[in-house]
Amino acid sequence: MTLEEIYAHHADFVWRCLRRQGVPREDAADAIQEVFLAVHRTLKSFEGRSSVRTWLFTICRSVARDRRTRAHRRLEVVRPNATFDDVDARADAAARVEHNDRLSLLETILSRLEPELRDVFVLYEIEDLTGEEIAEALTLPLGTVYSRLHAARKEFKRAVVRFEASAPATRAHVGGRA
């Protein structure tokens, strides 16, 4: 397995991981390069010991952490008390939310999850890692992974339902429609 192959297959995954770990969009290129340079340095010692994505995830997490402590930039952080008013209140939740709005909404919902629940949820539901891979990536017992996943799913579902419930109210609030 070469660096080029890893890059070709997993650059998007790395980018998503970095974004979920709080790296701002404008820093993405820099951060991705850091990750793959670390991959290059440690490739020989990695070979085959775990799944590639597990390994990449741990590198992403430590690169993101390093960048936070180096404080290159003020991180963009969704305010913990952000409400769904942040999302365009006029968007019809089911039909007319555009893809970017969906991403924003997804990010909003994810940002409200406890970080430990969010990590498990994202790795399972978006990145398709197996429970065992997640256990390895996050250094958790497998049972903990599943229980966090269960809790995260509940939270996620609740947030989606809450958003849908709020949309008609905000529509009425904004547009005066019944």
Binding site: E4, A29, R41, V97, N100, R102, E125, K157, V161, E164
Partner: protein
């Protein structure tokens, strides 16, 4: 314990059916979030350039500082974008371009090839191995039109690599020739410091010590914090 089904695959991801469509849409949006092909190439070119610059342990020029400020002693040259081209050439079908805004992204993920713009050359090109180099150090051949910033960066990186190798082999004259040509072609290029440091070294190797010293002093004034500063400083007095 068998794994629970992924939420996006569940017929009704929300227990009471409410919001089911939206939940799936959100997860699909998250799964489809990706770099554009252009971004992907650009990042790779930057990676390759950094690796090329850093890859010459025998040279007296210090490895370049990388984004993030860490010097990395990379021993091998990356083959650059070759594999990207090879993969593009090997693809059959799968024409959907996976962009950041792809609402219909669904499992399985669009293949790698679909992330590459269709303008990439269709035929896979084998690794180009210059006659005297070991395969590991063969420079990448650009898969995209040479006018793009990413390909210019890759070419500039190749010049740096060739010059460094020539210096290591004791052929300072040809290194200097390459570097002077690059100076004209890549003015303001990202690897200007590396090229200048190598130029100074080449001049010193050729015995043109006053010229080397003058340029070294100018270099240290211009780039005081450069990772090459220490090596260049050694040549700053004739």
């Amino acid at each position: 314990m068998s794994e629970p089904m992924r939420l996006i695959d569940e017929p009704s991801p929300l227990d009471d059916g409410q919001g089911a469509g939206l939940a799936r849409d959100l997860l699909a949006a998250g799964r489809g979030e990706a770099l554009t092909a252009h971004e992907k190439r650009g990042i790779w070119a930057g990676l390759a350039a950094h690796a090329l610059v850093a890859a010459a342990p025998a040279s007296s020029v210090a490895p370049a500082a990388l984004a993030g400020g860490k010097a990395v002693g990379l021993g091998a040259v990356m083959k650059g974008t070759l594999v990207v081209v090879a993969l593009a050439g090997g693809v059959v079908g799968g024409a959907q371009i996976l962009r950041r805004v792809s609402p219909e992204a669904e499992r399985p993920r669009a293949s790698l090839a679909s992330t590459l713009a269709p303008s990439l050359p269709a035929a896979p090109s084998p690794v180009v191995v210059p006659p005297r180099s070991p395969p590991r150090e063969s420079p990448p051949s650009p898969p995209w039109p040479r006018s793009s910033p990413a390909s210019r960066l890759a070419e500039e990186g190749r010049v740096v690599l060739d010059a460094r190798r020539a210096l290591r082999d004791g052929d300072a004259a040809s290194a200097l020739r390459r570097l002077e040509a690059a100076h004209a072609a890549f003015s303001g290029g990202a690897l200007a410091q590396e090229r200048e440091a190598l130029t100074i070294e080449a001049l010193a190797q050729l015995g043109r010590r006053e010229a080397a010293a003058a340029r070294a002093q100018a270099f240290l004034r211009a780039y005081p914090g450069s990772p090459h500063a220490a090596a260049v400083a050694k040549l700053a007095s004739p």
